[in-house]
């Protein structure tokens, strides 16, 4: 048993890695550019100020890197030249889409451009290309600053100071279009001297190429941070995501757990009653009622309850939202009562979903068992009917229900999106919807991963409990 549990927990690590890979790729591959979305708030595109802030945003959130594999060490001088002439329409007439793509590529490729730009600057036939290569070289060689708002601010400041000193050397080594021709010659000479000194940084050995291929990517960077439990910062509030999600998790989990417990408490007796009286009128009515509950969408039940009991048509017994009152309540009991008052409607909605499914399973479970031989034996022994039902039938009939626990928890966590939005509870579901609206990739990733972990744990829990309860199952 213990061995099995350990094995399963160890298996969760590769599974979690694969989950993160799938989610990461799906979210990042979905069309729609996060860089543009995040930078759009800064103003119109095409302006240099905006462009710099977009670059900063992209670098800060690693959006300039390729998603899974990095082949940028294999760029050729010809490709880089093509990008420059397209981006600035030097030769030929590219379409606007091509121009945008080329500009984005030049922004994203960063350091990987340096060696080609140096070569282009030195010996390209077209003087315009030489001049542009110089100005792109300035951007490409400049080290970007790290964010000082998250993590260790003092260390980040030191790093930034160092980088700033490095960048300062070549701060004005570029020429405007109208600059005299000597300018180009002078700056080129400066850059070539700089290159002779620094070329080892920008030329890649086979090992460096291989490293970049796998590890200088968005996914690898994300995982490097994840190992330190660093989920990044919110693109919206710049707060660490982990704290935000953990803060939200307590609302969602307490909501889901209460709903699950209530659902089991109500569903099991209902199912057993229904099964024992199988075929009677009470059973028919119960089954029909539960079927109706089962087919009602959560958001409909929630909206109707909210409208009926807290919007004032007809009554205002419950609050319209939130987890607890804004005002502080001195006693523990008082604040618990306050939370219960706030959660009554959402829990009722959430329970109704789980209840219908659970009691249907409970009913089938008990009906299956009641026909078994050992129940007949128990009756033949002269045992009282309640003893037969509770001690013999229910105990065995509940085994399938127990395994459902693992499946129901993630469903409820998923379903919490709707309930939290309808009842305005600041939990994970609502946070997800808000983050989605603000295109906060880090937040969305973190919520998805957290809920995947919950699901994994739920499945493990239900498998183990199955083995604990049913002696016929031997896991080792």
């Amino acid at each position: 048993m213990l061995q099995y549990a350990v094995k399963r927990i160890l298996w969760m690590i590769p599974t979690f890695f694969m989950i993160s890979l799938v989610v990461f790729v799906l979210i990042n591959l979905a069309p729609g550019n996060p860089g543009q979305a995040g930078g759009a708030e800064n103003g119109q595109s095409g302006q240099s100020v905006q462009s710099e802030s977009v670059i900063f945003f992209k670098r800060q959130f690693n959006l300039d890197k390729p998603i899974l594999v990095n082949t940028r060490t294999r760029l050729t001088q010809g490709e880089v030249r093509q990008l420059i002439v397209t981006a600035r329409s030097v030769e030929g007439t590219p379409t606007p889409a091509q121009i945008i793509a080329a500009k984005d590529a030049l922004e994203d490729y960063g350091n990987y451009l340096v060696r080609h730009l140096v070569a282009l600057q030195a010996d390209d036939a077209n003087p315009d290309v030489r001049r542009l290569a110089t100005s792109y070289l300035l951007t490409a060689a400049t080290l970007s600053m790290t964010s000082e708002t998250a993590g260790d601010a003092a260390a980040a400041r030191d790093v930034n100071r160092e980088r700033d000193a490095y960048n300062r050397v070549f701060r004005d080594w570029s020429c405007a279009a109208a600059a005299p021709p000597e300018c180009v010659g002078e700056t080129t000479a400066k850059w070539q001297a700089w290159w002779a000194e620094n070329r080892s940084t920008y030329e890649y050995t086979a090992a460096e190429t291989a490293w970049a291929f796998f590890f200088d990517t968005r996914f690898a960077t994300y995982w490097r941070n994840l190992v330190h439990l660093d989920f990044g910062v919110s693109a919206n509030s710049r707060e660490p995501i982990l704290d935000l999600v953990l803060g939200k998790l307590k609302y969602s989990v307490s909501l889901s757990l209460t709903a699950v417990m209530l659902a089991y408490l109500v569903a099991v007796p209902l199912g057993v009653y229904s099964a024992v009286r199988s075929g009677s009128r009470a059973d028919t009515v119960l089954t029909a009622g539960l079927f109706v509950l089962y087919s009602l969408p959560t958001f409909f039940t929630g909206t109707v309850l909210l409208q009926l009991l807290s919007q004032g048509t007809p009554v205002k017994w419950f609050p319209t939202g939130d987890f607890q009152s804004q005002a502080a309540i001195p006693t523990t009991l008082g604040s618990l009562a306050d939370i219960a008052w706030h959660l009554a409607l959402p829990v009722a909605t959430s329970t109704s979903v789980a209840l219908a499914a659970l009691s249907r399973y409970a009913r089938t479970g008990v009906i299956d068992v009641i026909r078994a031989d050992y129940i007949r034996t128990a009756r033949a022994k002269g045992l009282e009917e309640p003893v037969v039902i509770i001690k013999h039938a229910v105990r065995n009939g509940m085994i399938p229900i127990l395994t459902l626990l693992g499946g129901i928890l993630p469903v409820l966590v998923s379903g919490s999106v709707v309930i939290e939005v309808v009842f305005n509870i600041p939990g994970m579901g609502q946070f997800l919807v808000e983050s989605i609206g603000q295109r906060d990739y880090n937040a969305v990733m973190a919520v998805l991963l957290a809920s995947a972990v919950l699901t994994l744990v739920g499945i493990l829990f239900s498998d183990l409990s199955y083995a604990l309860v049913d002696p016929r199952i031997n896991l080792d």
Partner: protein
């Protein structure tokens, strides 16, 4: 009883045996007979069929284009001529259902004729003739649909009620015959936003002044399309994956099932919402794709389990011994026997796909260009309007419960243990 009396009836019974010409019931006929015995699923099936008819014939009852129009320049038939016009019916879903409405309905006639004529023929010939007729009709309809989608009509169309008012104000007599509900689900009229139910607008109007009844009825089209197509898509993918995993087993099976486990562990609604949100200008087809992308694991597991069971049976060994190829053993021998559970899960799947779509549009992450029940309910919640909450809620509830009841019926009918 003596020996003589017990031996006597035997020869008399013989002629009572069914004549050789009578047909043994096919598997489908057995299942159908079993299905018909339970009344609730049977009526639910007709209910679902009714919803489908409502979806197909919606424009007959609801259209702001008059059937017949005479504005002084002779008779016109705008309803008919705009049925495939992309300016009137912008969405591919509408073009699809309209193609069922017009060419589809017309094609029923030749099929019905063939059906009737072949009724007396022997089974094999009858089935062959009917299959030919159905295939021909389906082919003709498919050609029409592809043509309509590939070469859209886009002539601008006037807003007839407004033109009528202008013409009548100018003193020109106008003849116009409208559908019972003369509104389009896309038409907006801000001056009439958020009105309650009246004889003019049966279910009132929404925030943009559109007729809610029209949006509800056309929402049937959206819900059914999402449900059925998403399920078809993921059932196909899941069945192929499950069949391959179950048939070949070994490393391939392990690999495929690992992938299935990974997908199962991601809470589907979260994933669906996140992916949907990052697609710019998402359409209803994106939503079907996303639903399919997270739901294919169910049928994959079902089909795999069936294949693991079936591949050990004698008929598969016989097929192997006869030298059948792997593909034909998988798809022609085993698959038809493995489809029962898939059919059941598909029926429930349609219901849950409809729920997912309405949840997405309720949260504002659906396709805003099509009328959706979830979207109406969201408006109802924001404006606290009972009509806008109850009407779509009831529609979703009705559709979902009809489909669930139907699914239960199919499950029971396919279960040999419940056969009586």
């Amino acid at each position: 009883m003596t020996d003589a009396s017990s031996a006597q009836p035997l020869p008399q019974r013989l002629p009572e045996r069914p004549p050789a010409a009578a047909e043994d019931p096919s598997w489908l006929q057995i299942v159908w007979g079993q299905f018909k015995k339970r009344k609730i699923p049977y009526y639910s099936m007709w209910g679902v069929f009714g919803l489908f008819l409502i979806a197909v014939y919606a424009p007959v009852f609801i259209s702001n284009k008059p059937f017949v129009w005479n504005g002084g320049d002779g008779l016109e038939f705008p309803w008919l001529t705009t049925l495939f016009n992309r300016n009137t019916y912008e969405n591919a879903i509408d073009i699809f259902f309209n193609s069922l409405l017009l060419p589809g309905t017309l094609l029923i006639v030749p099929v019905a004729v063939v059906w009737r004529r072949t009724a007396g023929r022997p089974r094999r010939a009858r089935i062959a003739a009917r299959q030919r007729a159905m295939l021909g009709a389906f082919g003709a309809w498919a050609v029409a649909l592809v043509a309509l989608l590939a070469f859209p009509l886009q002539a601008p169309t006037p807003v007839y009620p407004e033109v009528e008012a202008t013409l009548e104000a100018a003193g020109t007599p106008v003849t116009a015959v409208y559908a019972p509900v003369p509104y389009s689900y896309r038409g907006t009229d801000i001056s009439k936003a958020m009105e309650g139910p009246s004889t003019e607008h049966l279910l009132g109007t929404d925030g943009a002044g559109s007729d809610v009844f029209a949006r509800m009825v056309f929402g049937t089209r959206v819900s059914l399309t999402v449900g059925i197509f998403a399920v078809l898509l993921y059932i196909t993918v899941g069945t192929v994956v499950g069949a391959v995993a179950g048939f070949f087993g070994g490393r391939l099976d392990t690999l495929l099932m690992r992938i299935v486990e990974v997908v199962i562990c991601i809470p589907s609604l979260f994933l669906v919402l996140s992916v949907a949100a990052f697609i710019p200008e998402r359409s209803i087809f994106h939503i079907m794709l996303i639903i399919a992308a997270v739901a294919w694991t169910g049928p994959a597991r079902l089909v795999r389990a069936e294949f693991l069971r079936l591949r050990e049976l004698d008929f598969v060994a016989a097929a192997r011994a006869s030298g059948f190829g792997k593909a034909s053993i998988i798809f022609e021998e085993i698959l038809p026997n493995a489809l029962g559970p898939v059919l059941v899960s598909a029926t429930f799947g349609v219901a849950s796909a409809i729920l997912v779509e309405s949840t997405m549009s309720f949260l504002g992450l659906g396709d805003i260009s099509v009328p959706s029940w979830g979207q109406i309910l969201a408006t109802g919640r924001q404006t606290s309007s009972w009509t806008l909450i109850l009407a779509p809620g009831f529609a979703i509830f009705l559709t979902v419960s009809l489909l669930n009841l139907l699914g239960e019926g199919v499950r029971d009918a396919l279960d040999p243990k419940l056969r009586s």
